[in-house]
Structures are given as C-alpha cells and as structure tokens.
Symmetry: C2
Subunit: 87 residues, 2 copies
C-alpha cells in the first residue's frame, strides 16, 4: 500500500510527528510524507502517532492507495530541500 | 481523476493559492485540498497556479489517482474547521 500522510499539529508536537513519520515514510514537503508501507508498519505508524498527538487539537490524515506503483505526482515550482533543523 | 493538492508557498501567496485551489477542489487541511476533477479542470487549475507562484521558491504537488471512488482516507485527531480568514 502507498500512504500519503499530511498533518497539522500544534507547534509543540511538530517535531515529534515528523520524527515518527520519517521512521516509516519519505519526507515530501512541510507537513507531507509518503511511501510504501506494509500493513504492519502502517498500523505501527498510526499507533505511534496516536500516542503523541492531542486528539482534540491536532489533525493527521493518511491517504491509502492500494497500488504497487507510486502514484503519479506532478510538481509545480521547486522541490524543496528537506528541513534540516530536525536532527 | 482524483487529485490531492499539497503546497508550501511563501506567505505572500498563500491566500492566492488557496483561493485558486478552492475553485476546483475541496479544502481538507492547511495546505491540502482534494477532489474529483476532469482533465480540463485539472489543466486549468495547474495553469492558474503556475501563473501566480514563484517557481524558484514555492512548491505545489498534485497527486493524481485514477479512480472513480474516493481514495481511502483515515483521520487521527480532530478534523479541523476550514480557515475562515479567507473570504
């Protein structure tokens, strides 16, 4: 399965969410990660995210695409370098 | 086709990009919109976005999913209300 994760969480938890996301997925853009995951890793990722977000004030969406090929992705503008303030 | 649009643009252009995105797609989350589009509308959306972004400093990605059903989307946390500072 291909997973696109997008999030909007309180600034206090941004680094934690990003750090967990990067354990499983590739960074794409501020607040967006993506990649192929097994079902087991997808469940593990969700559990880790659930354990640290504030469920009333934070938002995390996962788009699940059942595909063996990477979804078609078009870039307009410039592909950003990954944030380097993390780690 | 189902389109997920994610962006990271300079604050000066955020409102413009969001306004264009909302003409074609539904707002999901800060910097994320999505919806079904015809090819014609997808091209029109890209053209409008291209015309206002700074191609060296802004980033807009479109994920294109060839599907007749909405992709599976999971929410952790709370679905945010749409920003109301726009319009």
């Amino acid at each position: 399965m291909y997973v696109i994760m997008v999030y909007d969480v309180n600034v206090k938890r941004v680094r934690k969410v990003l750090k967990i996301g990067r354990k499983y997925l590739n960074w794409t853009l501020r607040s967006v990660l993506e990649g192929f995951l097994t079902k087991e890793d997808y469940e593990a990722l969700k559990n880790e995210i659930r354990s640290i977000i504030d469920s009333e004030n934070d938002t995390v969406y996962f788009y699940i695409i059942e595909t063996s090929s990477r979804p078609y992705r078009i870039l307009l503008g410039n592909a950003p370098a990954e944030f380097n303030f993390i780690e």
